[in-house]
């Protein structure tokens, strides 16, 4: 029986193009509809395939205010067993350090063989939290996974880690934390049965006090980084459109590249 915790994060839907910052330069998470972070869906799918094969349970873990319930329900509809949401007003504006500490504290309350995370989040907090979480918990850590194969008897997990030239095969003892990529495979769409079953699945909410972290040691107030300002990048010049015979077009293109000293 395999027990997997999947870290999932609600992010503004990139396809909606409605992302915005608040006046104090934080991400306004209410502006665009929340969706499960793209890479988290892949690791969730990998987890679902594993428990289909080995039997077991998946617990989702989300630290978020807005959008936590939506993404948890979607994950439950895809087949996760239960959800845990950590939410607290003090957490708004949390940085990498706080996020890692809170997730680690929540994980300490759970029993698992594997923790999965997506390697990156599309809302820009680029992929360092899971390494930090693994370190805080003393878990073996593998990233950029394209394949994850646990061996329950041997209590090890084999992970294919993408490298520039192909992949490395890594072996780690379980419990371990693995950060995975799109290469793990296309996430399933929740079945209708799954969606209806989700309504009776358990979702637990934890506050900082529940986790013993209400002492001001984590949260937006102790963030180690802050945004100073934001600006739009300079607009690109108008597009030059080239039509006509391929040879002519090719000449124009190469002239253009030469002008810009790219060749």
């Amino acid at each position: 029986m395999l027990r997997i915790v999947v870290l999932i994060k609600p992010v503004p839907d990139p396809a909606s193009a409605a992302e915005r910052l608040t006046p104090d330069w934080r991400l306004d998470r209410t502006a665009a509809p929340p969706v499960i972070n793209g890479n988290d869906e892949y690791v969730l799918e990998a987890a679902l395939k594993l428990i289909n094969a080995h039997g077991g349970e998946i617990t989702t873990l989300t630290m978020a205010g807005h959008g936590a319930t939506d993404v948890t329900r979607k994950a439950l509809a895809m087949g996760a067993t239960r959800g845990v949401i950590v939410t607290d007003d003090a957490l708004a504006g949390s940085d990498v350090v706080s996020t890692a500490r809170v997730l680690a504290a929540a994980l300490r309350e759970l029993e698992f063989d594997l923790v999965f995370a997506g390697i990156d989040t599309s809302d820009g907090v680029g992929g360092v939290v899971h390494a930090a979480v693994a370190t805080l918990l003393g878990l073996p850590y593998c990233s950029f996974a394209a394949r994850i194969e646990p061996d329950l008897e041997a209590r090890t997990v084999l992970v294919r880690r993408i490298s520039p030239v192909g992949y490395d095969v890594l072996a780690a003892p379980m419990p371990a934390l693995v950060a995975g990529t799109q290469a793990l495979g296309e996430p399933r769409y929740p079945s209708l049965k799954g969606i209806m079953a989700a309504r009776s699945k358990e979702v637990v909410t934890r506050s900082l006090a529940d986790l013993g972290l209400a002492d001001g040691s984590v949260g937006g107030s102790v963030a180690t980084t802050r945004v100073i300002d934001a600006r739009q990048p300079p607009a690109r010049a108008a597009t030059r459109v080239v039509r006509g015979a391929p040879d002519e077009a090719a000449r124009e293109v190469v002239d253009f590249l030469a002008e810009r000293r790219l060749i």
Binding site: A17, T69, D70, R73, K74, A77, Y189, P190, S191, L192, K193, I195, M196, A198, R199
Partner: protein
Amino acid sequence: MTATSQPSGTSRLTEEQLLLRDAVRVLADERIAPRAAEIDRSGEFPDDVRELLAAHDILALPFPAEHGGLGADLLTVCLAIEQISRACATSGLILAVHELASLAIVLAGTADQQARWLPDLAAGRKLIAFALTEAEAGSDAAAIRTRATQDGENYILNGSKRFISHGSVANLVTVFAVTDPEADRHRRMSCFIVELPTDGFRVARIEHKMGIRGSPTAELEFTDVRVPAANRIGDEGDGFELAMRTFERSRPGIAAQAVGIAQGALEVAARYATERRQFGRPIADFQLVAGMLADMDAATESARQLLYTACTEIEAGAPDAGRWSALCKLVAGDAAMRVTTDAVQVLGGYGYIDEFPVERMMRDAKITQLYEGTQQIQRLVVARSLLGRD
């Protein structure tokens, strides 16, 4: 930003309904939409779509969980019909007819009858048709002549039914037949489930229709068909009332089909208007065109919101459920016809040819003004309710 096709009207929907709606939408876009033109062209019943809907538990939506269904409420079933119909009206009808024809069993069947038939229907293994209409009894449903005479433990059915959706592909038929010709108009008939194949049953013809061409519309002949008394739903004489109760819940399904058709047409027209250039600009820049599109959106959205409210009211057991049911079907059917006709107009010459789907959608839309009670019948129902003459 080019015209999007994000669904709207989410204020009343629960998270679960949204997830369900989106799941069906994705399936419809990816697996059903590519088949729609071919289904219309060939006029063949799309059994692959039936299979798909069954495999994804969509046909299980209207049935109680204890019989393998998903126990979805009326609004949820309608959300699914709407999303499928947006891609293909024939396919949307598969779910709508499945719901319509099983309602008698769900509403009034005994525990035994439900256990006997509902599991196969929920699994999508069997299809069911609704046979009330006859050549001489359309709007005047009480005037049917198909006769069921008692013969010991059985009834003998004689007569014929016309315009029966799925009549040639169904495994079960919900048949309404006269059991007491002397009784009052509304107590003459009873409801039976006929299990096919059976001796004396014959599909006499399949109609060639203007639209929903993939849905087989059949004339069914019953010649001394033997039906066990155990297959009668409710008591003798309950038939008419049962049919009316059925319509209360099935008319929103047709309204959903109509809203879906309208939405599909609106999206094609809107996208076309942003891409088609004349006089040096996209035709969406011209106010005459933009105005039409706006009116089409208004018509579709108001039909949709009325449908959703009607479903909620009917599900909650509102005393004027019949009025809600008629209202939503009336408004949606007219909206679908108007929106699809205008969609053809927006596309101009291209709207008239089958390179674009709007001509099919216009042909498909017309039926929503005709079946499940014509628009005129719906108006009568609404007027009666309004004027206190129920």
